[in-house]
Symmetry: C2
Subunit: 382 residues, 2 copies
């Protein structure tokens, strides 16, 4: 994303917690990028740093592009440096990313009022292909995004629209968080194909081969749990089958049929081993927050619980404890009406009088915005 933005003329600062990880890029000052159409370009970066204060200084938007397991760290480090109305976008938030990020900012005493938003998924299918090289396989057409509170979503979309017009508004962060398809597909397929992955180093088609009638049945059970949790929160989450039809035009009456008919899954190999973010990210930051919400609202999450337990055993890690719970998201003990008010308006109690709202800059007209594109910046973290 840093290379893509820089190559397209945006001013970009690249930050990584670990200087070593961006050393080569810092030396060259640029990243080589192979685009989805096979052409190559170079993104020249304004700054490459592992100093968060330097990275955030003066930027309009901070794009956080790390596994969700890094969100807490990033939030803690950003907290002292974020200024009024500065925008932080989690790409993506998985489940409850923006909610937890805001909780941490508050706990860390961040008194300015930055805007925290989350995307439903990462806008690219892409890989780092070298120490200063990247490749974009596919650029998604539409990615849902919501700010916390939702009243600020429009402001974020406007700030991003020159760079990524693909972002479309979600009603609130509950929608982006509950329409988390990775939660359904990633851990289950990885665990129910654990032996195959480890024995062959992932040498089979992850979706086309790994999703069989029985594994698809487990996916359906988990998906039903997710949709039911969403319904308990008043959110009409999209079932995975409907999502496959929308996103890939994949037809079929069952998840199994739709996946077998999905050309978009052709050629995607399985992970090379089980130490993969499909488990260490998607279990604690997708399944655990979903199951935690299910528990709070009396929705059975039998299938999710089985996967969480199994992942804990396979990795010898207590993902339930390390994962994101209703407590981390600041939702513990809240009623549905309170949660919905919180994600919409940013406050729980309707009688609570907030400090005077910071004055928003009036939206720039479109023609001005385009001219100012070079002032936008991204903090991209791999």
């Amino acid at each position: 994303m840093a290379a893509d933005l820089a190559a397209r003329g945006f001013e970009v600062k690249l930050y990584n917690r670990t200087a070593e990880r961006i050393r080569e890029i810092a030396l060259r000052g640029e990243i080589e990028l192979e685009r989805e159409n096979g052409t190559f370009c170079v993104g020249r970066l304004a700054t490459v740093t592992s100093d968060i204060a330097e990275a955030l200084d003066g930027v309009e938007v901070a794009m956080v592009v790390v596994p969700a397991s890094g969100h807490r760290d990033i939030a803690r480090m950003c907290a002292p440096h974020l200024r009024e109305d500065q925008i932080v976008v989690l790409n993506p938030g998985r489940t409850g990313g923006a909610l937890e990020f805001r909780q941490i900012l508050e706990r860390e005493g961040c008194t300015t009022d930055p805007i925290v938003a989350e995307a439903g998924t990462f806008i690219f299918a892409s890989r780092s292909t070298g120490s200063a090289q990247a490749r974009i396989f596919r650029r998604k057409n539409a990615v849902a995004l919501a700010a916390l509170p939702a009243t600020r979503t429009g402001h974020v979309l406007e700030a991003l629209c020159d760079a990524y017009p693909q972002f479309i508004p979600a009603p609130d962060v509950l929608h982006t968080s509950l329409d988390n398809m990775g939660a359904i597909f990633h851990p289950t397929l990885t665990l129910l194909n654990a032996g195959w992955i480890e024995r062959t180093k992932g040498d089979f088609q992850f979706y086309i081969d790994g999703i069989t009638r029985s594994t698809a049945h487990v996916l359906e059970v988990l998906d039903r749990e997710r949709v039911t949790i969403a319904a308990a929160l008043g959110v009409p989450a999209r079932p995975a089958l409907a999502w496959l039809k929308d996103a890939y035009s994949a037809q079929g009456d069952t998840l199994y049929e739709a996946i077998q008919a999905n050309a978009g899954y052709q050629g995607i190999k399985a992970p090379r081993n089980l130490r993969h973010r499909y488990i260490f990210e998607d279990v604690p930051f997708s399944l655990v927050p979903l199951a935690s919400l299910g528990a709070q609202f009396g929705v059975s999450t039998w299938g999710m619980e089985a996967m969480i337990r199994l992942a804990c055993i396979v990795h010898g890690t207590n993902y339930r404890q390390r994962g994101r719970t209703v407590e981390d998201m600041g939702l513990k003990g809240l009623r549905v009406s309170e949660i919905r008010r919180y994600v919409q308006e940013g406050r729980i109690n309707p009688f609570y009088v907030p400090a005077p709202a910071p004055r928003r800059p009036s939206p720039r007209p479109a023609q001005q915005r385009s001219a100012q594109a070079h002032r936008e910046s991204a903090v991209a973290l791999e």
Copy 2:
């Protein structure tokens, strides 16, 4: 087993609940058997029937050779027909087979005092190869057996020793039930290789390929739970690693190493699909009773629970409800000392005065036993 016994000169009655399943054998009156050394023989049966009264009439030993899911049915059907001191052997009992069998006999009002025993495993590795054909791949050297109560184990071994001298005494049915290795290996390997099994119709080596470092780690976790449950009951169960060393001389410091080094696992293919007894038998009649004992005695069975849940989801069946619990085994609410007294002596309360014990026939001397071998009979159920 029926063919083997008959071919070796024992008088055998073959019974199956479903007449259709033994129709071909009934027509021919015999079963063709390929033995482990590659030679062929024929076992001529005295009776082939689906009438349980006829099957049990006059036989000394009833060998029950069915998946554990059939034990309840068999127990109910046998109850009215079992006579004093008639021997029923479950081949094998899985976990708690003899305990539940006896509970059902009592509930069904069986007033005679038949002897119920269970083997730790089936004495053959064998397959039915046709409607009246069978093949024995391997004959095990030593199979633990215990009667309920243990005071009668010697009597059962004596009755069986002409036919199968491989049977060796276990201290009691807790030992045969808790040394259940299938509980550890079968469901976990099937579920963690679910996609692979279903996609390739089981075309890989189940143990050699399917047991990887991660799946072996899950096996170790479940095995530790089993050994801990046994310890809570005062039973020194053998860890799977030690069992692999004893049974197969497989060396290694971890389960993974021992399995990879186990020549005995070479060539064993995975199940062809997931509708297999590795789940529908081993989950409800191995894992469920183990987890149920764990719950009663405060032993965490996190790993077993994950496997049980997953199996329930994959098969859309409530195996926990259908499975064998402490209640079914007649152990619910009993203390360890009470359970141990029960399996040893057949009664829970030391102050309880049982009805006068039926007079046991004095053991026949060995030379007589041999001559009487033809009077032994087996009810073998495939």
